[in-house]
């Protein structure tokens, strides 16, 4: 009986950084974080990663196998870094959907892409990754870059991505991960919990959001666990590539 109650509680709660919160509250709390950082998101990304996030994303694009005329879903696409490139590569015959659960991020992304002259083949959709509002077997490529760790039910989201992919399509998950080098790990921890929130305070006047960023990275499944989750959802040929000593990993899986 007690076990059943514990299970019921566990099913109703999840983590938000190092805190345990009700599942229903996590969406709202994550939304608050991204509403807060949306306007400074690009500046902070460059500042925090010293611009390296551009190389990580570039590697993801190289692994995407995208071609003219294809359909792409850029989930948690935020300010549209990946969407911009996909839009140019798939061309007029192709189609890119920039989806994000957070409307502030979506608005910033849409304004930025329009300023870059990207229009015509890009659509903006506010969507929850756990229940994607797209038909089955629709996209050639689904990407989620630095977004999966914010999703409440990751397994459900991965299953949803599997559903909307065409047979032969691929999923790319670019996400912070676990570094296995002890020295780098110590340095990274110091940077994440001391320097990062201070930088957030100075640049975006918001240290809490960047503390959440550091905590949520630590709570995210490691490389092998995420690989297992993708396989569990039905993906085949799942492999991952560690970058910058495992600070970030790119997982790639196919739907056959």
């Amino acid at each position: 009986m007690t076990e059943q109650v514990d299970n019921a509680i566990n099913q109703e709660t999840t983590h938000f950084g190092y805190q345990t919160v009700a599942k229903a509250d996590k969406v709202e709390k994550v939304a608050e974080v991204f509403h807060s950082v949306a306007t400074k998101y690009d500046v902070m990304n460059d500042f925090m990663s010293l611009g390296i996030h551009r190389v990580w994303k570039r590697f993801a694009i190289d692994c995407s196998g995208i071609r003219p005329g294809q359909k792409v879903l850029d989930l948690a696409g935020g300010t549209g870094d990946l969407t911009a490139k996909f839009s140019r590569v798939v061309g007029e015959q192709g189609h890119v959907v920039l989806a994000d659960i957070n409307d502030s991020m979506l608005k910033v992304g849409r304004a930025k892409l329009r300023d870059l002259g990207i229009e015509g083949n890009v659509e903006y959709v506010q969507a929850n990754a756990e229940a994607l509002p797209f038909p089955d077997n629709h996209f050639d490529l689904v990407t989620i870059a630095f977004g999966l760790r914010n999703v409440t039910d990751k397994d459900k989201a991965i299953r949803s991505m599997f559903r909307v992919l065409k047979p032969g399509g691929r999923l790319l998950v670019l996400e912070f991960s676990k570094t296995e080098q002890p020295m780098l790990s110590k340095l990274y921890d110091f940077y994440s919990f001391n320097i990062l929130p201070a930088m957030g305070k100075v640049v975006a006047n918001d240290s809490e959001s960047y503390r959440y960023l550091a905590e949520s990275i630590r709570m995210h499944p490691d490389q092998e666990t995420l690989k297992g989750m993708m396989e569990q959802a039905g993906f085949e040929g799942v492999e991952y590539y560690n970058m910058t000593g495992g600070i970030v990993a790119l997982h790639r899986g196919y739907k056959f």
Binding site: I52, R54, V55, W56, R58, F59, I61, D62, C63, G65, I66, R67, P68, K85, R88, V89, G91, E92, L116, G117, I118, M243, T244
Partner: protein
């Protein structure tokens, strides 16, 4: 971190920065929009793929589609590509391997090499009109003087080598030698023709 991603990022940033200043850039990109070029430099292990759109040139390290033009060449041949007359000779010299439409390739080379950039105008945004004009004028003068000096030095060095130290023949001597070789070649052909005739008689 993959080194080739860093290289492609650098190349892409460099090209697009220059393309932004090129007054003809957008019109040229529009002509090539949607085309993909695979460029493999012999000095690098993998090709780079250049995807052209009206907005910019994207450089990818991997591309699973079929590029419109594939090129394998050496860095030194890159500048010679814009001259259509040289393309055939580059191919014959094995400096250039091309699969696809050569005209497209030449348009792409023009896009990258024949940029119409008004440096004075660009600099004036940062330095002001007067300083930018003076700087560009000064640099232009310096370039002309340097060009003249270089020509003079080349001439002097050539004279020292051919006339004073006699390490190499002068152009007239080379021309005379070539004439002699041509004459010798003609004489040899005549001798061979006579020998063929004589052999023909002996066999009969």
């Amino acid at each position: 971190m993959p080194l080739l991603n860093l290289i492609s990022a650098g190349v892409e940033t460099g090209i697009n920065s220059l393309q932004q200043w090129d007054r003809q850039g957008q019109a040229r990109r529009k002509k090539l929009a949607g085309k993909v070029f695979s460029i493999e430099l012999k000095e690098l292990p993998k090709p780079f793929y250049f995807v052209i759109s009206t907005q910019q040139v994207d450089v990818l390290g991997e591309y699973e589609g079929t590029p419109d033009v594939r090129v394998k060449l050496s860095v030194t041949a890159l500048d010679e590509l814009k001259d259509s007359a040289k393309t055939t000779s580059l191919i014959k010299q094995d400096k250039l391997e091309v699969e696809g439409d050569i005209q497209l390739l030449q348009q792409f080379a023009q896009l990258l090499t024949e940029m119409d950039i008004d440096w004075e105008d660009e600099l004036s945004r940062y330095l002001g009109d007067v300083l930018a004009h003076k700087l560009c004028y000064g640099l232009g003068q310096a370039r002309r003087v340097a060009g003249r000096q270089l020509c003079r030095i080349q001439r002097n060095v050539a004279e020292v080598i051919t006339e004073e130290y006699r390490l190499a023949p002068s152009p007239l001597e080379v021309a005379f030698f070539c004439d002699q070789v041509t004459q010798l070649e003609q004489h040899s052909e005549q001798v061979f023709a006579r020998l063929d005739k004589l052999l023909g008689r002996v066999v009969k």
